[in-house]
Amino acid sequence: MFDDPLVLARLQFALTAATHYVFVALTLGLAPYILGTQLVATLRGDRSRMVAVRFWGGLYLVNYGMGVLSGLVMELQLALNWSGLHETFGYTFAAPLAVETMTAFFVESTFLGLWIFGWDRMGRWAHLFCFSVVTATAYSSAWWVLVSNGFLRHPVGFAMVDGVAHLTDPVALVTNPAAVFAFLHVVSGAMLVGALVVAAASAHHLLRGDDPHGIFRRGMGFAAVTMTVMPMVVVSFGGAQFRIFGQDPPTSGLTYTAERIEAIEAAGPSAFVSAVNTAGELVMMTAWTVMFLLGPVMLLARYGGPLNPRRWFGNGRGSTATGADGPGSAPRVPSWFRPRRWGLALLLFSPFLPYLASVGGWVYRETNRQPWVVVHHLTTADAVTPLSPGAAVTSFTLFTVAFGVLACVTCWLLVRFARRGPEGGPLAEHWEEERSKDPDPVPTF
């Protein structure tokens, strides 16, 4: 099976896209939280909230680097391995992706750069504006990517001229229902990723009673509220997509006749693809159910029950480091027998849940389309670049290894910076002090 270039090209794209998405989802999930925190900090002139912005912003920065790198390479790989798709649907499928790359890369990196290098150098409202542009472009890229993806599922707005799709209705392309619902579904799912990453980082520091600026107390509050509200939103927009799943696209018949389509579909997906499809759905629904139950538990624990940090630290400063004989509220039980410690320890691993749900859901959605890459127009087998098995194996190995290494490095850095807390991140304030002491200042990067 693994000497077939088609299988390798598909597997390679699946792995690349899943890796890329891991970082994109965190970008989308963290950006609104950072923006909101910075807005409140700017309105109130609150220093401790600005420390929080630096902390979460540092994680955002490390994560963004990998998001952009993997996105660029993924796009190149899409052009290299799927030339049939570009040949026929260059104007309709590749054009939104090109727009996306340019906005994501150009506007987003520019304003992220301004935001980083302009810290304490520009007015606080101008600085806030920079991050609002970063957030807006992050979301607009997600929109363009899903316009491309929605087109594959539900191709609209083009006419076939000499075997090449020519865009006739750009409005239909960008308001494609398959793109709109997928966008809302993906964006609300990314909020779950952001919330649980914030929860995990906060849990780590709350377990150590290390929260001098209230960053992690507030982070836990945000996570609890988001986790209570968002799972319902995710599932509604996810369910709304099923309406389109069974429909024939309006452009059906432009490329193949109805009989031909039926003949192609009659072969059906292979047993392997069906199994993967079912597995994706199962993983998605299981992880979603756990998160659906997790939210209210977090909210109750946060505001009413044993997870309320006001009970843990009498005056906002940690006391758990001293164990069970801490002042006031600390109960007289061994430290391992405290539900809040167990709850927090479990939250450390919670970011796996939304990732599993996202990747599972994506595998489910994409395998559902087989044998088509563009429904009723182009089969996956016709879209792949004709490759020799040797070339396919080489490309697969090189890209998979490179992506694997980079993803591991990024995750390691994210965990490392999250554990270090607000004093040790890439945007932390003491770096600035070091820099001003440096006799030969070179801008850090």
């Binding site: 660029l72 260059g90 590749a94 992706l97 340019m102 670049t385």
Partner: protein, 268 residues
């Protein structure tokens, strides 16, 4: 309309070569110009503000290519698949090195990232050499023309990097790297000139690549040779900032102006 989109594509590709030539070239020369950790840090700090801005031009060129010339893109991918894969990998490795270098405060980590920067920069330069030569000649072939053309382009990248380094690495205490870079411009220009001469001889001797407008190519190669000859002289280091930019633009211009590219007119 077609003229406009072609001009746009040429502008982005040439702009990329001129701008990215600086930071890719300097990345290639790191082992030569930066021998101490402090010097290497300086080189990375000189490249860091520019590399994303240079890559934007390539991304824009790819966007124009995918959106306006899907046929040409298809053709290119078919003909140059292995080189483009290597180019993407080199790009990934190089950017990772630059992006992650100052994230961890550890000597071995930094030297690993520097290795990624140097290796990635060389890969990019060699791949661009192969791509441009293959576009001028007829596709990738293991012949002397491809090899020599690639050597020429690689030398042009290094020359551009040396000129950039001579200008950007000047500092109060660490002028060493800037001097090393400035000294490198003359031998690099001579290497490029020699490689260019042999490439042209071999190209003409083998019957010449099938150019649509050979006279334009001849003029451009003349300009390139003049720019390199000027840089080879005593005043080379002083002129290199402008001549290296002109020199690295020429291969892109040759491809844009004198090579027949397969493309159908744009719809609508």
């Amino acid at each position: 309309m077609e003229l406009l989109s072609t001009a746009l594509l040429a502008l982005f590709v040439v702009g990329y070569l001129v701008l990215a030539g600086s930071d890719v070239g300097l990345g290639m020369l790191v082992p030569h110009v930066a021998r101490t950790p402090a010097e290497r840090r300086r080189v990375v700090a000189a490249v860091a503000p520019y590399f994303l801005a240079s890559e934007v031009w390539l991304v824009a060129a790819l966007g124009v290519l995918a959106g306006l010339f899907p046929d040409l893109e298809h053709e290119l991918v078919g003909a140059l698949w292995p080189v483009l894969v290597a180019l993407a990998l080199g790009w990934l490795v190089r950017d990772a090195g630059l992006w992650f270098r100052s994230r961890v405060d550890d000597r071995r980590w930094r030297s690993l990232c520097d290795t990624a920067l140097v290796a990635g920069s060389w890969t990019l330069a060699v791949c661009w050499g192969l791509v441009l030569t293959a576009l001028v000649g007829d596709g990738l072939a293991p012949d002397p023309f491809t090899v020599l053309g690639t050597v020429t382009v690689v030398a042009l990248f290094a020359l551009r990097g040396a000129a950039f380094g001579a200008e950007r690495l000047v500092g109060a205490s660490e002028a060493e790297s800037a001097d090393a870079a400035a000294r490198a411009t003359r031998p690099l220009a001579r290497t490029a000139l020699a490689a260019l001469a042999v490439t042209v001889l071999v190209g003409v001797g083998l019957g010449g690549p099938a150019l649509v407008r050979p006279e334009v190519a001849a003029v451009l190669v003349g300009i390139l040779a003049a720019a390199l000859a000027a840089t080879s002289g005593l005043t080379g280091p002083m002129l290199s900032r402008h001549t290296s930019a002109l020199a690295i633009a020429v291969p892109g211009l040759v491809v844009a102006l004198s090579v027949g590219t397969p493309c159908r007119p744009l719809p609508g």
